[in-house]
Amino acid sequence: MKSKPVEKKRKARDEESDSESDDELGNGLFDGVLEASEDEEDYIPSDAIDDGDSESEASEGSEEDEEEDDDALLSDDIPSDIEDNDDMGKLRKGAEELEIAEPGVDPKPKHQEEEGRNYRIEKDANGGERYVYDEIDPVYDSDDSDAKGPVNTIGDIPLSFYDSYPHIGYDINGKKIMRPATGDALQSLLDTIEIPKGWTGLTDVNTGNPLNLSQEELELVRRVQQGLIPDELHDPYPDTVEWFTSKQETMPLSAAPEPKRRFLPSKNEAKQVMKLVRAIREGRILPYKPPEEREREEEEKEEVQFDLWQDEEPAAPNPMHIPAPKLPPPGYEMSYNPPEEYLPTKEEREEWEKTDPEDREKEFLPQKYNSLRKVPAWGTLVKERFERCMDLYLAPRVRKNRLNIDPNSLLPKLPSPAELKPFPTVVQTIFRGHEGTVRSVAIDPTGVALATGGSDGTVRVWELLTGRQVWSVKLSSEDPVYTVRWRPTKDAFILAASAGEDVFLMVPTHSSVTPTLDQASRDVLAAGFGYATNGQQPATAPGKEPAGKWARPGTKLEDAGVLVRVTVRSAVKVITWHRRGDHFATVSPEGQRSSVAIHTLSKHLTQIPFRKLHGLAQTVVFHPLKPLFFVATMRTVRCYDLQKVELVKIVQPGAKWISSLDIHSGGDHLIVGSYDRRLLWHDLDLSNRPHKTMRFHPKAIRAVRYHKGGLPLFADASDDGTLQIFYGKVPNDQLESPTIVPVKQLKGHKVVNQVGVVDIDWHPREPWCVSAGADGTARLWM
């Protein structure tokens, strides 16, 4: 152990002596380097060298040229170079001082130190050698590099700026530093021939002197360049010092016995090994192969195929899953050589080209090629496939039930109209005479006379079969006659007609009217006057207007046959007689509270049954058998019991605006016509909703009417100028539903101002009907 350091020391000494003989300067430089650890300022030069040579000139050479850089680098050294002597001396002095300061140190190092080192080698506690450096005396001059000599203070500018001057810069005191004398060309030539010691061919930037480097410095530069440790003597790989040796100590640090685990194989390691073994067995760890080979192998590996459906078991398809529809198979027009009729004509082709590609019905035009070799590639095939792909994954699928049935099977099987005869089919008589619209028609209960009322304010009576006008009266000059209705009994021949707010009751002259019948009729009408004069009429409240004023219409009208005038509060549109003929009801839709009035003929009495009505009253009708009264407002039909004075039923046809209403002679069925083009059949026993809805007219329905004489017929009249005749058989059995068959559409009336047929009436016995049209005619159909 001890012999090695000694040898080293010896070697060092030899080297020292060499260097000493070489040059003193080397020591000085070396000195500075080793001091670097303690003194940074001194270290700068060597640091600069280190930077410039070992690495690229990145840190400093970025701004200056390479040469200048070198100059600058080297120039840094110059102060130390120059001051070497001083420095040396100083250090020596310091060393001596140190010697004095440390008396207990071996003389041997001192001796070495005297030989030119600034450190001593001492033995440390373990016998190893240890470098001990001198203490630096921190006096003012000790570490002052400024005072070392004339430093050129021109700063960081190239020296070439001073080429034309005799000086090369200024020292710290502002004195010119003169350019050192340079020999002439010959001299310089001579210089190149015999190279002085330490010549580098470089010039110190600061001083302009040639830059000389000593052997030591060059050596140092070389070592730094090679990346070696600058200190030659430093041993980076010293022998290991066996602090804890295998040698048995007499006094061990711990007397604990060796633990058992030292002798047992490690479980953790076994686990790790097993992990690897398993990985190898499973093939997760493979023997190494170069990556190229592995890649190639992987490429060669085929996709493994096997029988995927080996254990297939048919499962019921998920009901929510909708399989994608298949594309339709190609038709004839897709052939490359289709039959010629599939080829488009010139117009078709043009039209196809004109339409937007998105709007085209077919995405291609059929084309014909004479032979297969002429068929080109289909341009949009990829796009079509792509669209199919998009459809497959992006289109929402909806299951649509395509009804693959004959549309005619939807139609109900209707019996042939020929089986359902009789019903009116052709126009028999046209009654002309009214100016403007014929508003209303009515056939008298005996079936011989026809009464019509028109917009011209006249009421006319005609012979039904011949069409001859037998009687006429003008009721009003400004108001139209809205409605005419015969009193439904045969014991009298009384006609009610409305014009404006007035209801007139009259006895027209007619061939069928015998004097006795005429007299009887007049008596019926006159009876009321006696009743009124007898004062049995209830007195109305003094301030209140009576519901209806019964009066004689005046001599002129009385002469014509018009015997009674009843004036109500607003214009009367509808008159309906009770079957016995003693009562009749009027409807004046604008009349609000008093829109519905019931008049008693025998008493000349007018009553307003409803205080309030839900909606505008449209029409009213008396039940043919029971004391029931139907009032149709715009939306609903209400049925009231007149005896008990209560609401019995509300029928809801579902129409928006009811125009007309009629009740079957049996009393259990109702038909409702509406302005929203519907004809509704109600079975009153079954439901409040319609039993059947029929839409045959493109325009509003104005009137509906049952045949009252025992024939299973009904008809409606519409604004489209047609009448529709239906066969409507009401069965005797309550449980059976009525048979309704449309049998005939009667056309003939002209449409004037969007109004077609306005009113309709049936003959009391025969399957004949009369219609009133806006074209100023009434027609008899049979």
């Binding site: 078991e313 048919p314 699928r397 109900p412």
Partner: protein
């Protein structure tokens, strides 16, 4: 009291989920979601009421069933996607760090299927899930085959790697081989889009489209990533289907693939089918040898020799063999000949389709023919279709690729030659000096080998679709071909059918109209005749008259059952009007009866039509609103169809007339 229900907590609002919500729920990117949907067969659903499902939904919002998305959540592929995502992140991070080596290592693990055609995941569990039985898979094969055949014909680009194309091609060839061996191809159709094929596999009809062999143009914005995803799935599907099909007919899958042959363009012949049984491999190896291939098999030869010795009478052993084989065939046919006809024993039952009897088995349609394909014919499709219908020997020019029975056009065994070149008027110099080495002698243009049938390619397709060898005269080279009709159209009652003569399918009214027109034209021409060349063609005139008379008689017979209550006056008036228009004097009565009768008939028809319309109107009024709408809709479509048909009929009538005029 029942709990108050909150809106959006139950019912439709819970059953549906928007796409964005679904993507968020699955925590994958949109492209990955798309992939997953494509593979798993999840598609959007249209809710009954969009408003109830989501208030903020616009028209373009796509909804999925929540249950579908829940089902996706358990998908093992999802984990793969996530792993891939993590890997991508690692790669990008490594690249960001400038760690190129690490990135390259990770990239190697990435295994991009869109570039290599080789994914790290397998899809077979998805296929098994989507198609629980094999038949289900067959049923869905239409799109798969069309797609793969298209991709097999695409040029390779960055979006479509060459490997993917090669694999598609391989799978398609394998499938074609199955069809050839099992003879399950049924129909084929040359359309303008490509060639449609229909095969019957285990009772399921599969229809697919193969493009013509041209470079496919890619137009418009096509996202090949989507197509690629589909193709990836379809490739796996077809692989497994092929395996199953091959094993069902006792063949080994995958068949042996000959790289060198494939490179020479052998296509189908590059694959060699092998039997499953390894012990009898030698015998079962069924290479598409094109008949002779490697010369006589020694074993067969030995047997033949034996036979020859035994019989000693015949000079040619092969002949005996053939005869024997034929005899056997006949016997077999006799055995299977009797097909029962199902006659209804009692009236009233539904009529079922009869078991069709076709005299020629599709697998033997071309069995006795040897074909030679000229250079200009589409070899791939012809080879496939001929082989699928029993042809064993097909030769073609060596330009068309490897694998032909013979490249020698002058081979005497050739019975049919398929040509698609026009007949050249002037004899030009021989073309193709480069191919002289294989054909010893070349024929000049328009020259033919005797004893051979020359046909155009359409003949093959028409034969296949009609299941009989059509007469080749119609399909001779240069001849105007008869129209090629789609075999997939099922004739429907009342629909226009080009195969049926016009008279059998036109409506009464149309026929009448046409006749009237004819008559008018005739009458006019007659008039002209009589006016201009009165004295020239007397005999002709007489002839015409006779014809007309006979016509008129026939028509009278037809009309016998019709009621004769027409009024003369109207007719007369019409006649007068016509005369007025044509600027001639009112015609004498001699032509009248015919025209008159026809006009009467027309009138009668019109009257009937009117009555029917009235009846219809009456019945329609009795329908409810819903039913009436439906009825009107149906009538609309029916009417549209019938007008289309009418247009076709009228076009055909005109064409026929033109043709007749051209002939006369």
């Amino acid at each position: 009291m029942a709990k108050i229900k909150k809106k959006g907590q139950s019912g439709q609002a819970k059953n549906y989920i928007t796409r964005t919500q679904a993507v968020k729920k699955l925590q994958i990117s949109l492209p990955d979601f798309r992939k997953l949907c494509i593979w798993k067969g999840i598609y959007p659903r249209e809710p009954r009421s969009r408003k109830k499902v989501s208030k903020s939904a616009t028209a373009s919002t796509t909804f999925y069933y929540t249950k579908d998305i829940q089902y996706l959540q358990h998908e093992p592929l999802l984990q793969k996607f996530r792993e891939q995502k993590v890997l991508e992140k690692k790669i990008s991070r490594a690249l960001g760090r400038g760690d190129v080596g690490d990135a390259a290592r990770l990239e190697r693990n990435a295994g991009r299927p869109d570039q290599t055609g080789k994914p790290r995941y397998t899809l077979h569990h998805v296929i098994r899930e989507r198609y629980p039985t094999f038949i289900d898979a067959i049923r869905d094969l239409d799109d798969c085959l069309s797609m793969l055949f298209l991709f097999a014909n695409l040029p390779s680009t960055t979006a479509v790697p060459a490997k993917m194309i090669a694999r598609c091609e391989r799978l398609c060839h394998e499938f074609q081989h199955y069809l050839i061996t099992s003879h399950s191809l049924r129909k084929s159709f040359l359309s303008i889009k490509g060639i449609y094929y229909q095969a019957n596999i285990q009772g399921e009809d599969v229809l697919w489209l193969v493009p013509y062999k041209f470079n496919q143009r890619v137009v418009g914005d096509i996202d090949f990533r989507i197509m690629g995803t589909f193709v990836e799935f379809y490739m796996t599907l077809l692989g497994f289907v092929n395996y199953r099909l091959y094993s069902s007919i006792g063949l080994k899958y995958p068949p042996k693939f000959d790289q060198t042959k494939d490179e020479k363009g052998a296509e189908l012949a590059a694959l060699t089918l092998e039997g499953v049984n390894l012990a009898t491999n030698e015998e079962t190896t069924k290479a598409i040898t094109n008949g002779e291939g490697h010369g006589p098999d020694p074993k067969v030869q030995a047997e033949v020799d034996k036979l020859v010795k035994k019989l000693r009478t015949e000079t040619n052993g092969d002949k005996v063999d053939e005869e024997m084989a034929e005899g056997e065939d006949e016997d077999e046919e006799k055995a299977t000949d009797a097909i029962d006809k199902f006659e209804p024993a009692a009236p009233g039952g539904d009529v079922l389709p009869q078991p069709t009897y076709s005299g020629n088995d599709p697998s033997k349609l071309f069995a006795n023919c040897t074909f030679f394909l000229s250079r200009e014919t589409p070899r791939q499709s012809l080879e496939f279709i001929l082989r699928a219908f029993g042809c064993k020997r097909i030769g073609w020019d060596s330009i068309l690729g490897e694998g032909s029975f013979t490249t020698d056009e002058s081979d005497p065994s050739i019975t049919h030659q398929i040509v698609d070149r026009p007949i050249i008027q002037a004899a030009t110099t021989e073309e193709g000096d480069g191919e002289d080495n294989q054909t010893a002698q070349k024929l000049g243009p328009n020259q033919r080998y005797p004893g051979r049938i020359y046909v155009q390619p359409q003949w093959v397709w028409d034969c296949v679709n009609d299941e009989e060898l059509k007469s080749p005269e119609l399909y001779a080279p240069g001849a105007a071909l008869p129209p090629h009709l789609s075999p997939f159209v099922k004739p429907m009652q009342g629909q226009y059918d080009p195969t049926i003569p016009l008279e059998e399918q036109q409506t009464e009214g149309e026929a009448l109209e046409a006749e009237i027109e004819d008559a008018k034209v005739e009458a006019e021409s007659e008039e002209e005749d009589s006016e201009v060349e009165n004295d020239m063609d007397v005999a002709d005139d007489n002839d015409d008259d006779e014809e007309e008379d006979s016509d008129a008689e026939e028509e009278k017979e037809d009309e016998e059952d019709e009621d004769e209550d027409e009024d003369e006056e109207v007719l007369q008036r019409q006649r007068e009007l016509e005369a007025e228009i044509s600027g001639k004097a009112v015609k004498s009565k001699q032509v009248d009866p015919k025209l008159k009768a026809k006009l009467d008939k027309k009138k009668e028809l019109e009257r009937k039509k009117k009555e029917e319309a009235e009846d219809l109107e009456r019945a329609k009024g009795m329908l409810s609103k819903k039913k009436r709408k439906l009825f009107e809709q149906m009538q609309y479509t029916n009417k549209k169809k019938s007008t289309e048909d009418m247009k076709l009929r009228s076009k055909r009538r005109r064409l026929e007339k033109e043709k007749a005029a051209g002939k006369a």
